[in-house]
């Protein structure tokens, strides 16, 4: 197991733990906004860590670029989705 | 195709062409005037063509027509009655509603009823028999009254039932033959050796008995025949029931004796002869009485055929046909007579009633009439046993019934205003009446084998007269018919059956309920799963 592999392992495990924490937050937190907060924060970071960890494993430069693209796209969609959900939650609240 | 063959084919095709002509609006108006012409080729064929003339239609029309003596006798009588009734109808129905429909059904029924007398192959027979049965519905239900509708419904149900019996019988009959559509003759020759013999004969008798109106399958007849307009009643009662007679003649193996089946047919025939007369006496309408008389007379024909079948007597068909000819002309004449009599009054009434009475008593066997000849001709074949006596007693019943008929018709026409039937109606009636008196004399020697003179002999006269006298005595003695009249509704046991109808109607309702339940989504889904499991289990077990 080389240095690169060790780096991958550490990053991936850390990413997985963040995912787990995010999921726990989703299940346990009381209201929509805080759930969303836990989920998006943990997921963005978790995915980032995993992608980071996988980078040394890529044989070609192209593969690395693809991985980073994936992370960026996930960031984009996660941000939008969070915005949308938060918007709906905010609109509902005053009426409730 | 020879000229003779063409004429035979024309007997079938001309009426069909006439029916087709009704599709053209321009031609429609002329059809009623041509109705009398439709049976003329058949009449000519019966008159001129020698027995044994046959013609096969070209492929793909698989049909063979053949004329034999039996067929010719019935064909001649039937064609004559059709022609006369056609002429009568043209006058009788002029200006009444539904004439066009009548002009379609009339030639179709005509083609079917004449065709069955000359067709020689099984499929062709079934085709023409069906044509006659189904088209006759149009005549029965023509008047669209509730009674006519009910009669039409009952007629249709039983006719289709009869078709089903016959189809099954024919299919089994043809199953053993090399040709898928054998000649009737060949198939019947092989019948006694068939493993399905009893089933076939039973189905044949059931199917044809329905058409002839043998008790207890007669229920449609007293409803249907009176419901039709007068000329249609004449041919329904005079000709159409003969489709059953010719069926029995053609399909039962008279060369080989079938004692059990012959005995059964004979017994049913005798019972029908008595039953028809007994039930008829309790009726009040002239046409219904005549219908019951037809039932009774067909019973006699069945008795003749039954005796022939039991003894293996090949002469039975000819004699039955001779009796049938007599009945065709007389019964047809009587129905026309009812129409004429109802239209006549005053001075015109008496001669009509006279001829009517003569015809009526001819049915009972009045000496010197066709009835007498017919009864004399069949006597030798019936022997001198129980059957012979029974037939003679049936003649007593006929006498009684006919006297009742004469009394009723006289009563019904008593108050008619002084008028006369139009000559276009009277003339056909007179022709039929005359033919009924003349033609049997002409045929008697060939069929009975006796000289004409024998029919004059004292012994013969006595044979005829004693049952008639008995009939007269019963009629006079039991003057209490007035009390009985109307006791039995038209269609007797059918009425009892109809009372059970609500109970029967519950089943379709139950089926409907089941259907609506099965058509629920969840039920259908479950059934589908069940089918998968059923088939899967079956396949695994079979593997």
């Amino acid at each position: 197991m080389g240095l690169a592999d060790a780096f991958t392992l550490v990053c991936a495990v850390a990413g997985a733990i963040l995912f787990l924490a995010g999921t726990l937050g989703l299940l346990r937190f009381p209201d929509t906004l805080s759930r969303l907060h836990a989920l998006s924060k943990a997921d963005s970071l978790g995915l980032g860590l995993i992608v980071l960890g996988l980078l040394p494993q890529q044989a070609s430069l192209m593969g690395g670029v693809k991985l980073i693209c994936i992370w960026l796209l996930a960031q984009l969609s996660a941000a939008t989705a969070s915005q949308l959900i938060a918007g709906i939650a905010a609109r509902r609240k005053p009426q409730a | 195709m020879s000229a003779a063959g063409l004429l035979l084919a024309a007997a079938l095709l001309v009426p069909l062409a006439l029916a087709a002509g009704c599709l053209s609006r321009a031609f429609q108006a002329r059809v009623p005037g041509l109705l009398w012409l439709a049976p003329m080729p058949a009449l000519l064929a019966a008159w001129w063509l020698p027995a044994g003339t046959s013609v096969s239609f070209p492929v793909p029309f698989r049909m063979t027509l053949a004329l034999d003596q039996t067929g010719a006798i019935l064909l001649g009588g039937a064609a004559l009655l059709w022609g006369a009734a056609g002429a009568y109808a043209a006058s009788y129905l002029r200006g009444k509603p539904g004439l066009t429909g009548f002009c379609v059904w009339w030639p179709l029924t005509l083609a079917g009823s004449l065709g069955v007398l000359i067709v020689a192959d099984i499929a062709g027979f079934y085709l023409l028999f069906t044509l006659a049965s189904l088209s006759a519905y149009g005549l029965v239900a023509h008047e669209q009254t509730p009674a006519a509708k009910r009669a039409g419904l009952v007629y249709m149900v039983l006719a289709l039932l009869g078709e089903a019996f016959l189809l099954f019988a024919f299919v089994m009959l043809a199953a053993g033959q090399p040709d898928p559509n054998p000649l009737i003759r060949d198939a019947v020759a092989a019948l006694p050796g068939s493993p399905m013999k009893d089933g076939i004969v039973a189905l044949l008798i059931l199917g044809f008995a329905l058409k002839m109106g043998l008790i207890p399958l007669h229920v449609w007849l007293p409803l249907a025949h009176p419901a039709a307009p007068m000329p249609a009643s004449a041919v329904l009662s005079g000709v159409l029931v003969k489709a059953g007679v010719i069926g029995l003649i053609r399909f039962l193996p008279f060369e080989a004796a079938l004692p059990a089946w012959g005995g059964l047919l004979g017994t049913v025939g005798i019972l029908t002869a008595f039953g028809g007369a007994a039930l008829g006496v309790m009726q009040q309408r002239p046409k219904t009485i005549l219908a019951y008389s037809t039932v009774s007379q067909m019973g006699l024909v069945a008795a003749i055929l039954g005796a022939g079948l039991a003894a293996g007597d090949p002469s039975a068909p000819g004699l039955a046909a001779y009796y049938g000819l007599h009945h065709t002309l007389v019964k047809g004449g009587l129905f026309l007579a009812v129409g004429i009599a109802l239209a006549c009054g005053g001075a015109h009434r008496r001669p009509v009633l006279l001829i009517t009475g003569l015809l009526a008593l001819s049915l009972a066997g009045l000496p010197l009439t066709s009835g007498a000849l017919a009864k004399l001709a069949v006597k030798p074949m019936l022997g001198y046993g129980l059957l012979s006596i029974a037939v003679s007693l049936a003649a007593a019943g006929s006498t009684m019934l006919m006297l009742h008929f004469i009394a009723v018709i006289a009563r019904e026409t008593a108050d008619n205003p002084g008028a006369s039937a139009p000559p276009a109606e009277t003339l056909p009636f007179l022709i039929v009446a005359a033919a009924s008196l003349v033609i049997p004399w002409w045929l008697y020697p060939t069929l009975s084998g006796d000289a004409l003179a024998s029919a004059w002999s004292l012994a013969s006269l006595w044979k005829l007269v004693w049952p008639m006298m008995l009939g007269v005595v019963i009629f006079m003695g039991a003057g209490r018919f007035a009390g009985l009249a109307g006791r039995v509704p038209e269609g007797d046991i059918l009425v009892l059956a109809e009372r059970q109808a609500p109970r029967l109607a519950r089943m379709p309702a139950a089926i409907e309920r089941l259907d609506s339940r099965l058509r629920l989504w969840s039920a259908a889904g479950l059934v589908l799963l069940g089918l998968v499991i059923w088939l899967g289990g079956g396949f695994l077990l079979a593997a």
Binding site: - | S516, L520, W521, S522, G525, L526, L529
Partner: protein, 114 residues
């Protein structure tokens, strides 16, 4: 590797069998039409997994699976989507027209004519 492929194929095959059962149950017995349509998709997924198991078992020639059933599954997924789309379009139209999302109407009443 091949033994592993077999085990995993069987596992997903069994999963497919289970999904078929679940999907069928949903289709047959769920009262809600939309849910039945989802049931169809679950049933389809189960069937496709059976195909997938068959494909995986046929792994050979350095291929992860037999390409023929895989291609069939792709075709099947697209057809299933089209079916879902048509069913949903019908359901939406039905709801707009009649105000209810069920087809268990009693026998169709006679047409009302002007």
């Amino acid at each position: 590797m091949s033994a592993m492929a077999l085990t995993s194929a069987s596992l997903f095959g069994l999963c497919g069998a289970a999904l078929v059962g679940i999907g069928l149950f949903c289709i047959v017995s769920h009262p809600d039409l939309l849910r039945r349509i989802i049931g169809f998709n679950i049933l389809g997924a189960g069937i496709f997994l059976v195909f997938g198991a068959v494909a995986r078992r046929g792994a050979a020639m350095e291929l992860g699976g037999d390409p023929v059933p895989q291609a069939m599954v792709i075709t099947g997924i697209v057809v299933a989507f089209a079916a879902t789309a048509l069913a949903i379009a019908l359901l939406r139209r039905l709801a707009s027209l009649t105000g209810s999302a069920t087809f268990e109407a009693p026998a169709a009443p006679p047409r009302s004519e002007p």
